[in-house]
């Protein structure tokens, strides 16, 4: 698991609060220049894990290495963190606020001013620079907070639910920036329980549930491991065929068609043949790979 290009390495870390174990024997490696998805339901231990990485709390046991070094407060300057708990100083002007957070990361003087202007421009918030943050909308505040996480050009960027509450245009804007940062060699840890977002943006994932890691790997590997022979259908008629348990093990009806999970040993060809024989009108017949969403649901529920 220890890899030279790994930006973050967690080695068997455990953290408890009294009786409650929040993170249990977690090991993982996050590689430089990749987007790492830390996924899991609410209360799985994601935020606690992140807090240990950014050195807010220390693990009870196990070790954490950042950029090959034991974590120290000095290394905090190389991390950008957008916590799930969002907050800004209400009565402080946006520009002053961003400057303050830049200073907390040791970005000073003219350089700080320059970066504040550049990022406000980039996120289309320039005209809000001298407004108090209490005058801004929720979406704007979220973008301001995103800036606080990236203003010091961190080598490791940790985003906890960065897109929740944003409109699609702004989601695309932030996604674009995240992918740019990735292209410039930064490491990104991305925590969410929105699987659709994770699926589009992550290279590697770690799925946590009930304080433990239950799945890890690149999105490709994970999906390959979950190939379930599912077919997406939109059709009229052919219902008896779908009820045939030797062909189809499970049917899920959506508003826009049906998803049929093939039974053991059954092939898509056999299903198509039977449907045609039953004179069903087929508008869509498509092999689908499992979505992260399905994998998530399956792993999390079986884990219970």
């Amino acid at each position: 698991m220890t890899n030279k290009s790994a930006s973050v390495v967690l080695d068997h870390i455990t953290k408890s609060f009294g009786e409650f174990t929040a993170v249990n024997d977690l090991s993982l490696a996050v590689h430089a220049g990749r987007v790492f998805g830390l996924l899991g339901p609410n209360g799985a231990g994601k935020t606690t894990t992140i807090r240990m990485i950014v050195n807010i709390t220390a693990p009870d046991s196990g070790s954490i290495k950042l950029f090959g070094k034991q974590i120290t407060p000095e290394l905090q300057d190389r991390i950008g963190y957008l916590p799930e708990e969002r907050g800004l100083y209400k009565k402080m002007k946006v520009g002053d606020q961003l400057r303050f957070f830049a200073e907390l990361k040791n970005v000073k003087g003219k350089e700080a001013d320059l970066r504040v202007d550049r990022w406000l421009e980039r996120l289309k918030l320039r005209e809000w620079k001298n407004k108090k943050s209490s005058e801004l909308s929720k979406g704007m505040l979220q973008k301001i907070q995103f800036i606080t996480a990236v203003i010091h050009e961190p080598d490791l960027l940790i985003l906890d639910e960065p897109f929740s509450g944003l409109d699609p245009v702004n989601v695309e804007l932030l996604k674009e920036i995240v992918l740019e940062l990735k292209a410039s060699g930064k490491t990104i840890i991305f925590s969410t329980h929105q699987m659709e977002v994770a699926e589009r943006i992550c290279d590697d994932i770690c799925l946590m549930n009930r304080s433990r890691k239950i799945l890890e790997g690149s999105i490709r590997e994970v999906k390959r491991g979950f190939s379930r022979n599912a077919v997406a259908l939109r059709l009229v008629g052919g219902d008896p065929v779908l009820e045939d348990r030797s062909l189809v093990s499970k049917v899920q009806r959506h508003s826009d068609g049906v998803e049929a999970l093939l039974a053991e040993g059954a092939t898509p060809q056999a299903l198509l043949k039977e449907l045609l024989a039953a004179e069903a009108t087929i508008e869509r017949f498509e092999m689908i790979e499992p979505s992260l969403h399905d994998i998530f649901i399956e792993k999390v529920t079986e884990n219970v």
């Binding site: 609060f17 009294g18 807090r51 950014v54 050195n55 807010i56 709390t57 220390a58 407060p73 905090q76 300057d77 991390i79 963190y81 916590p83 708990e85 969002r86 907050g87 800004l88 100083y89 209400k90 009565k91 402080m92 002053d96 303050f100 957070f101 200073e103 907390l104 990361k105 040791n106 000073k108 907070q145 606080t148």
Partner: protein
């Protein structure tokens, strides 16, 4: 270090720039003036004009009436000497002026008339006077017994509508006393013009002697007054700025910024930065007030001197005293401010914090009360221990320094203990703050806090 500076800067600028700060800075001294002067004025103010008093002098030839009449109408020396030592008088150059004015308004507030018995019986006269009081033509009357000048046990009576006005009652009693005393002396053959000189009260001037046996300059009691000033200053400062400190500590919890801060700065730096930032704001405000006061004093002193108030003496205190004054004031402020930091670290909302901060004020008041036994026995072991306890030392040690300056090592030890306490409290607060941050919306119980402190 840079980060600490950033926090201090933000805390300071954000607070100094607010309208609230500007308004408080301007209105603060005005409010202080209002709170110190108005109650005094109200107390001495008697609405409804002069008190109308009738005097029934039953002595032979009504010898007393003239004396009582002039005594009631004149300014009375007894009033002054009977007054308890006034702290404000030694401390506040304006107070003399104020008391003077207040007294003038009081002394002129009697209208005296003589009741002529015309051979009537006492009962009849009383009935008539009672009727007049009932008709609101009179406020009260004095019945002077015939044997008052010869019998020290004889009883004088005052009848009045409003006997609840203790101030007026006290004045009447005082003035009657001096009138009777004067008349008795005259009757014993003392010459009228000698009475004043003979009945003058004794003035004791106090001189301190230090441990080397040297005699000091005349002690005007100003030192004692200074203790109360320092106690009052700490008290006011803590009341004014303690809540600000509390609010500053809680701000990040209420706005949920704490997590971002923690990912960049050590909690101890946050605590220290906030404390220093708010303190600098307090210092700015106090400096502005102080300068305004100084300016006023510089303008007022010559003006008052021109009006004849030459005896405004600033307390004669050795310079080292002012160094200690400053040090213990700063220490006292920081000890109590860090308690507010500690409270702030434990609670989640300012409202909760306000409730939990209540005992802080009690602690301060306790320190003030402890000053009394200490001033009576400044070198007792009780005084020693009390002046070593950090929460009390700013006041109790100051009392000892003023009354009988203790050895230097004791003062130094008290200061060191105090500042160590400040650092310890800050450290404790930062630890509680960091762990408490992980649980929003719930106040930490004491056992939890103890566990947190042991943890991590």
């Amino acid at each position: 270090m840079n980060k600490l500076v950033a926090i201090i800067k933000r805390e300071y600028l954000q607070r100094v720039r607010t309208k609230f700060f500007v308004i408080m800075t301007v209105l603060g001294p005005l409010m202080l003036l209002v709170f110190t002067i108005v109650p005094g004025l109200l107390f001495s103010l008697k609405a409804g004009g002069a008190t109308r008093i009738a005097v029934l002098d039953q002595t032979d030839g009504t010898k007393l009436y003239d004396s009582i009449h002039s005594s009631l109408l004149q300014r009375e020396r007894d009033d002054e000497s009977n007054k308890p030592p006034n702290i404000a008088e030694a401390s506040n150059p304006n107070s003399k002026d104020r008391i003077e004015n207040a007294r003038k308004s009081i002394t002129s507030s009697f209208r005296v008339e003589q009741v002529n018995p015309n051979g009537r019986a006492l009962e009849e006269i009383k009935r008539e006077l009672n009727a007049r009081i009932g008709r609101d033509e009179l406020d009260g009357y004095l019945v002077i017994p015939p044997d008052i000048l010869t019998n020290s046990e004889s009883k004088t009576s005052y009848y009045g509508r409003n006997v609840g006005d203790v101030i007026t009652r006290g004045q009447i009693e005082n003035r009657l006393n001096s009138a009777v005393r004067r008349q008795r002396l005259i009757q014993q053959g003392v010459k009228d013009e000698d009475v004043d000189a003979l009945s003058k009260s004794v003035n004791v001037t106090t001189y301190p002697i230090n441990e080397k046996g040297e005699e000091g300059a005349e002690d005007s009691g100003a030192g004692f007054a200074m203790v109360f000033i320092i106690a009052f200053l700490i008290y006011i400062t803590v009341l004014l700025y303690g809540q600000v400190v509390l609010g500053a500590i809680i701000e990040e919890k209420e706005t949920r910024i704490a997590e971002i801060l923690f990912s960049s700065v050590r909690p101890f730096q946050i605590m220290l930065g906030k404390l220093i930032g708010v303190s600098l704001m307090a210092l700015t405000q106090l400096l502005i007030w102080g300068l305004a006061f100084l300016l006023l004093a510089l303008l007022a002193v010559p003006a008052m001197a021109a009006q004849g108030f030459m005896d405004i003496n600033l307390p004669h205190l050795p310079p080292f005293f002012f160094v200690y004054f400053f040090l213990f004031f700063v220490l006292g402020y920081f000890i109590y401010a860090t308690i507010y930091v500690l409270v702030g670290s434990m609670v989640t909302t300012a409202q909760e914090g306000g409730q939990m901060a209540m005992p802080v004020v009690f602690l301060l008041v306790a320190a003030l009360y402890l000053a009394f036994p200490v001033i009576r026995a400044p070198n007792s072991s009780f005084a020693f221990w009390v002046s070593m306890v950090p929460f009390f030392s700013p006041i109790t040690m100051m009392v000892r320094i003023i009354s009988q300056t203790p050895p230097f090592w004791q003062i130094a030890l008290s200061l060191v203990l105090g500042f160590v306490t400040v650092v310890l409290l800050l450290w404790l607060a930062s630890r509680i703050y960091r762990i408490g941050m992980l649980m929003y919306g719930k106040r930490a119980t004491i056992p939890e806090v103890v566990r947190w402190v042991r943890q991590s």
